[in-house]
């Protein structure tokens, strides 16, 4: 396995056109599982394809173990890729598909057979070696695609949304299997997904991208607890974080037009100084940190009518229709996760409060995170 470094990777598909990727710098350690996540069109697949060599970067370099391989052909980079649609050769058997790369590299037949069978055993494919991809289920095909990647013992694995074509149940199973395999092989892996659940559960570190720009690179827990900006805050976590409009005036926090009593924190800029007296900001509160209180309760920062209650067994998600001016959301909906026993009836007017020490703050204009320091 190897470390991979990306330096200043920029990609423009047309001269003078918009940047699909903008100055991406990333260091991936040997054996690390890094997930690239973001909405459709954010550039994550483009970045993966540049690492694979299937696309060339407009600017920037890529290094493997310190060696610049930007101009090296894809087949010579010793990197294996698992494609979103598996890209299995339909006219070849499972055995021939898995051994395709070994055959190209003129591995002796005996060795090739042995390695293919070992890999098939690792993936539970021994009894399918004579079948063709058309005779396999989605999960089996996915395993064959992984087998083809694993058998060559490459320095790194690239996976482009390999679970997106599977049903929900199989996706959960294969997620665990991929994680197990990666730990067993101790392989350097770059994994692309638009599913933040996959990102959070599988990655050692997660790279969040939006519009070709890296928003944040951090461990999953760090992303969840300390998002760098409002985009990351909303993208990571399900249901997504609520963003309420607020302001910081004379050391007092106002949310939705109401002063938040007993808010015992000060807000700081990145350089550590106090943000100043007056500032519009966004207050981010995860649904599980929202409390439901009676509408007339003084602790309620916003009030609204319950539009929908979704019972999920162990919890209930309450969708609250609030004044659109109070929330930074087109729908004007705020979501709270509560115990099913405490879920209010649809149509009732309720208020919400929140855990002060769990709130996140973002600059309204830039979306950047504003740090908080507890007072006393």
């Amino acid at each position: 396995m190897a470390s991979i470094s990306l330096r200043g990777i920029t990609k423009r598909f047309n001269d003078g056109g918009p940047e699909a990727l903008s100055t991406v710098d990333l260091d991936i350690q040997d054996g690390e599982f890094v997930v690239l996540v973001g909405p459709s069109g954010c550039g994550k697949t483009t970045l993966l394809r540049i690492v694979a060599g299937l696309e060339t970067a407009t600017e920037g370099h890529m290094l493997i173990d310190g060696k610049d391989i930007s101009k090296v052909r894809p087949g010579d980079r010793d990197i294996a890729m698992v494609f979103q649609n598996y890209a299995l050769f339909p006219h070849l058997t499972v055995e021939e598909n898995i051994g395709f790369g070994l055959r190209i590299r003129r591995t002796p037949k005996v060795n090739r057979r042995e390695r293919v069978r070992e890999t098939a055993a690792l993936l539970g494919l021994e009894s399918y070696l004579d079948r063709r991809p058309g005779e396999l289920s989605g999960g089996q095909r996915q395993r064959v695609a992984m087998g083809r990647a694993i058998v060559r013992h490459p320095v790194a694995f690239l996976m482009d949304e390999p679970l997106s074509n599977l049903d929900a149940k199989l996706r959960v199973e294969m997620r665990a299997e991929i994680s197990r395999l990666q730990r067993t092989l101790a392989s350097t892996t770059i994994y692309v997904t638009h599913d933040q659940t996959e990102a959070m559960t599988m990655g050692d570190r997660v790279v969040v991208l939006d519009k070709g720009v890296v928003q944040q690179v951090a461990k999953p827990s760090e992303l969840y607890q300390h998002p760098a900006n409002s985009f990351v805050a909303r993208f990571i976590g399900a249901p997504m974080m609520n963003l309420l409009r607020g302001s910081w005036t004379d050391g007092q926090l106002q949310v939705g037009g109401s002063r938040v009593e007993e808010f015992r924190c000060i807000l700081e800029r990145d350089d550590g100084d106090d943000v100043g007296d007056v500032r519009d900001l966004l207050v981010g509160i995860r649904p599980e940190h929202v409390h439901i209180v009676p509408a007339e309760n003084g602790q309620a920062v916003v009030t609204g009518r319950v539009a929908l209650v979704e019972h999920l067994g162990k919890e209930a998600q309450v969708h609250l229709d609030v004044d659109k001016g109070s929330v930074a959301s087109e729908t004007g909906i705020l979501v709270a996760t509560v115990d099913p026993a405490d879920a209010p009836e649809e149509g009732t007017m309720i208020g919400i409060g929140f855990d002060h020490d769990k709130a996140h703050f973002f600059d309204t204009a830039s979306g950047k995170s504003i740090r908080t320091q507890p007072l006393g």
């Binding site: 894809p74 649609n85 790369g101 083809r148």
Partner: protein, 290 residues
């Protein structure tokens, strides 16, 4: 209430319109099918009749099957010689055409070099050139090359006139194949030639089969080039042989012999189409819905 009635009558009018369009299309197609089968059926039945009764009652079945007509036709067509010539020129022409068209089509559709789209257009233009407009220069050119009145010259000409269509059809087919397969092969270390032979060509088999059949059928039925570019009896193809049969028939009035000759000429095509119709349709339509 009024709105509901209006909606119902609009839906009915739309459904009726769709039904009429579909019905008129079906009527046209089935009319053509019935007409074609009627003509074919009539010729086949007539080939088993006698000359003195064939036109007496056009639609009557023969009293007894005159299989001797086919023996006559075999002789009239000089079938042994002409069928060998046709097999050599059509078979050789088809194989060579596919050997050249397939890699050309792959390069044009997938390799993406500068001028590829212009070159594709150039090939497509070739389909529109009627062979009648080039027959004289072709004849002169082959004469200069010492290839006139030869099966080799005819085969080379067949390749030349078939390549535009074959490239056009195969280009569309290659375009329909997923690009990830090539990318996967590239990641596994395969170069362009290996990718073409190990991945793309096997996947292009339905298209290759369909294109080969269409090219072969066209060449089998081809007449003008064979008539013009060959003039010795032992160089004649089956289509030209049929012309000779027709010429002879004017003196002998051997209509049933002529019909038998037509049936002999059509038989391989009918067998081929019947056996391979699914592959032909598959090859022609595989890219249509992607």
């Amino acid at each position: 209430m009024d709105l509901t009635n209006d909606r119902t009558s609009i839906n009915f009018a739309l459904r009726l319109r769709r039904l009429l369009i579909r019905a008129s299309g079906s009527i046209f197609v089935w009319s053509w099918v019935i007409f074609s089968f009627a003509i074919l059926g009539w010729i086949i039945v007539a080939a088993f009749k006698r000359n003195d009764t064939v036109f007496a009652d056009l639609w009557a079945l023969p009293d007894s099957a005159e299989v001797g007509n086919f023996g006559d036709a075999w002789g009239l067509l000089n079938l042994t010689r002409t069928s060998i010539n046709s097999l050599l020129t059509v078979g050789g022409g088809t194989l060579l055409t596919m050997a050249l068209a397939a890699p050309a089509a792959y390069a044009l559709s997938r390799v993406g070099f500068r001028g590829a789209s212009g070159l594709t257009g150039f090939f497509a233009l070739g389909i529109g050139i009627p062979v009648h407009s080039i027959i004289i220069p072709l004849f002169l050119g082959l004469s200069e090359a010492g290839l006139s009145n030869s099966l080799l010259g005819l085969t080379i000409t067949y390749v030349g006139v078939s390549i535009p269509f074959a490239v056009f059809l195969m280009t569309g087919f290659f375009r329909s194949l997923p690009t990830e397969l090539e990318e996967a092969a590239t990641m596994e270390g395969a170069g362009p030639v290996r990718i073409f032979f190990s991945v793309m060509l096997p996947l292009a088999r339905p298209g290759m089969v369909a294109t080969s059949i269409i090219v072969a059928v066209g060449l089998w039925n081809e007449f003008l080039l064979a008539l013009t570019l060959t003039f010795d009896e032992d160089k004649r193809t089956i289509g030209v042989g049929l012309l000779n049969t027709f010429g002879a028939m004017r003196y002998t009035s051997n209509w049933v012999g002529l019909f038998a000759a037509v049936v002999i000429m059509l038989a391989p095509l009918i067998v081929l189409y019947t056996w391979m119709s699914r592959r032909i349709i598959e090859g022609l339509t595989v890219g249509a819905t992607k």
